[in-house]
Symmetry: C2
Amino acid sequence: MTSSDKTLADRTYRQLRGDIVNGRLAAGSKLKLEGLAQDYAVGMSPLREALARLMGDLLVVSEGQRGFWVAPLSLDELDDVSRVRALIETEALNAAIRNGDAEWEHEVTAAFEALAAVEEHLPHTREPLPPEQLEIWEARNRAFHAALVSAAGSPMLIKLRALLYQQSERYRRVSLNVSRGWRNVHDEHRAIYDATMQRNALRACRMTELHLARTAEEVRKAMAALSRDDDAPGDKA
Amino acid sequence: MTSSDKTLADRTYRQLRGDIVNGRLAAGSKLKLEGLAQDYAVGMSPLREALARLMGDLLVVSEGQRGFWVAPLSLDELDDVSRVRALIETEALNAAIRNGDAEWEHEVTAAFEALAAVEEHLPHTREPLPPEQLEIWEARNRAFHAALVSAAGSPMLIKLRALLYQQSERYRRVSLNVSRGWRNVHDEHRAIYDATMQRNALRACRMTELHLARTAEEVRKAMAALSRDDDAPGDKA
DNA sequence: TGTCAATCTTATTTCGATATTTTTTCGAAC
DNA sequence: GTTCGAAAAAATATCGAAATAAGATTGACA
């Protein structure tokens, strides 16, 4: 859509990726090729190509002659992803604080202010965020975290960080659908931003770890609640 | 071939991956689809699927309607990959030393001894290793490093480690074709092994870092020599 | 020398044929 | 009457080949 969609396979890859990350395609569900080909209006070849690429992003799994599934989510994997993400993200942030120049500071500031504009009047109530505002917040949150590490000077670190961020985002979306309102995520972002601008790498990394750990904890609660609901689905059969 | 080749796309993926990692398909070279389809005796569909998956492994790059290339190698990327690999690998080794049980110790020991059996009568001369012995050494080196971290208890860490190992292997293969004989790589492996068995995580990680840094240094020299040769290819035009 | 158009090469995609897995049906045994 | 298993049927994944469309190249013309 927005960026380089030179081929149908490209476009389909991006669409599928979005639909998996935001949960429109449920975790663990079977991806029936014929249905997908219809929904996305493509033939088998570009579709399979897109799915093959998504395997590399750890968003899709496949089994021999049996087809493709959306990669499942689990509490164990949530822990795993969160911990590895903290490792990568702090390493990258540390490097960025060492290497970042004035332009980087400017970009981080712009990203932070854009994010702050959304976060400052976030509902403290327990009503769920309207979908389109959620999309805006997701986009700016992603942009802020990406901007922070953009000066790390390590393409590999940045690639891995993006991979792990995307994994985390899948989990986070689960919790946002169940969430009892927003914790003070904005304060956490501000703490990271301030420490970064002061070039206090140690503090910036600690704040990042805290931020990731709290997010993971929130997701963990939401997922635990969900799986309890699955076990005891109430009255309706 | 050996493992799960349930589909043609699978087999082609593995074959291509091997041919890229061991350098049979040169870094940066164009992957002409028709030619590959002939060489690997497959149609377009499985071939493209395999290439799409290789993009996720960072072994292949593609550009819009222009096709596929073997991902290029560069000195900058070598540094980048080596550093990130050290980060991931030490983190994983540290966790493995914390978590590893007796079975893990046994597996590591078996892998080390298999590797040692090859390394102990490695030529100290400057003759290049015969290809089939090189393959054996590569396989056992890979198995040893994989065994070390296998008890890390973090699937994600292990996945990323495998990705980075594969990247490093591409670079290492370059240097082995130019190499002036083997440095005492066996002593380095033994040092890592001994520290690991003593559950001395700090020392094991330091030895690993040293091992990776030395390997990277060797590759760097080889690549620098190669690119000098490219610039001044001698008499022949 | 630069630009445009015709042509050729190559990547991309569609579509239909084939092979595999899953489900259903039917029958026999317990 | 129920359970188990085999065989047929349906659904689905995989693959190859031909059609399409995009990009690169060449050569004529200005």
